[in-house]
Symmetry: C2
């Protein structure tokens, strides 16, 4: 099976997906779509991924999986080792809830398309747009810091890398770009530092991708 990841170096959800692929030890080709130029809306790509968003993972036989949340679950379903979710159903639910704290409540608000709408359609200044991003990051990170204190053990959930790290590391990268004050989240930042140093996670960093500026 040949895997091809359609993404963009600086996209948080592409970064999230690269981390999971790397943690599973999978080889994959990368096709880039420059979000700044709107390339993800080109017809050749929307034929594969109708929503015109990155990432999408081609898994062979013409099957294309959009949506990073679904791709990460698919990786866990089809490549169970090493596991990125706990075995116990209740623990798995907590880990997935920690993922969703970023995946549902922070990242969707800070996408490039959202920030563009705030500037262009709603006429907001850059400072207000950055404050918007920092606001939702602060709300989510405060909750996640508490959850990492309760459930982390080196990594954000437990003592080994998990899907939570796949969500956390790109969101901290994004928060740094927006100028968030991260010292308020000591448990979260300790887990981030631990995860970011993992070779498979470090290799997924935007600056290390072939399409980086």
């Amino acid at each position: 099976m040949t895997l091809t990841l359609h993404g963009y170096w600086r996209s948080g959800t592409s970064y999230r997906t690269r981390i999971a692929l790397n943690l599973k030890g999978l080889e994959y080709a990368q096709v880039t779509h420059d979000l700044r130029k709107g390339e993800q809306k080109n017809a050749a790509y929307t034929a594969l991924a109708p929503q015109g968003l990155v990432p999408a993972l081609e898994i062979g036989n013409g099957v294309v999986l959009p949506q990073s949340v679904a791709i990460l679950e698919w990786l866990e379903d089809t490549h169970p080792e090493p596991p990125l979710l706990p075995r116990d159903a209740n623990e798995r639910a907590i880990a997935r809830a920690m993922c969703a704290t970023i995946g549902s409540d922070v990242h969707p608000l800070n996408n490039l398309r959202i920030l563009k709408y705030l500037k262009n359609e709603l006429g907001q200044e850059q400072a207000a747009v950055d404050a918007w991003a920092r606001h939702w990051i602060a709300e989510g990170f405060a909750a996640l810091d508490t959850m990492i204190a309760a459930h982390g053990a080196g990594y954000a959930y437990g003592a080994t890398p998990s899907l939570v790290d796949c969500y956390l590391v790109p969101q901290v990268y994004s928060a740094e770009r927006f100028g968030s004050t991260l010292s308020a989240y000591p448990n979260l930042m300790a887990a981030y530092e631990k995860a970011a140093a993992h070779p498979a996670i470090a290799a997924a960093h935007p600056d290390k991708q072939p399409d980086a500026d």
Copy 2:
């Protein structure tokens, strides 16, 4: 096991969770937190759910699961019948991607807390706030209409209710409140009508909840 759902009648994610609980045939108690009054930020509730968001599901022994995405997966893990996701991993990924089209790309942008921020912090008029909501609904529904045409068979995914219906039905309810033009999505609306008529789904409607206005 006694299940207690912390929610709010008009919250889309609470509605989503009620549908899944009903489809699984589970009994549950409901505790309401009036989002208009900010009751979800009361200390008694944030002690259970640190993020101060609804829904959260108390599952016994002091375990509280926040985040509807995680709750729905937990229901599928612990109460596999009737299945709400396909058995095949690739099909399951497509169904989850359809869920995420709403769960990640539409609903997070149209939450009450987001709309309040647009009005209060960014000084937007009600008309601009409603247009914002309709914009993201239109983007997501256009993609989902295509996916339902490809993967639906009466219901949004296949011939039986699935997690996709859990996401779809509350989002259409919300779209109607924002004045979206829904005739542009014939496949999506046919699936919605079919699902909304299902007794377990109909029973989850906001107007039928004990805390409804």
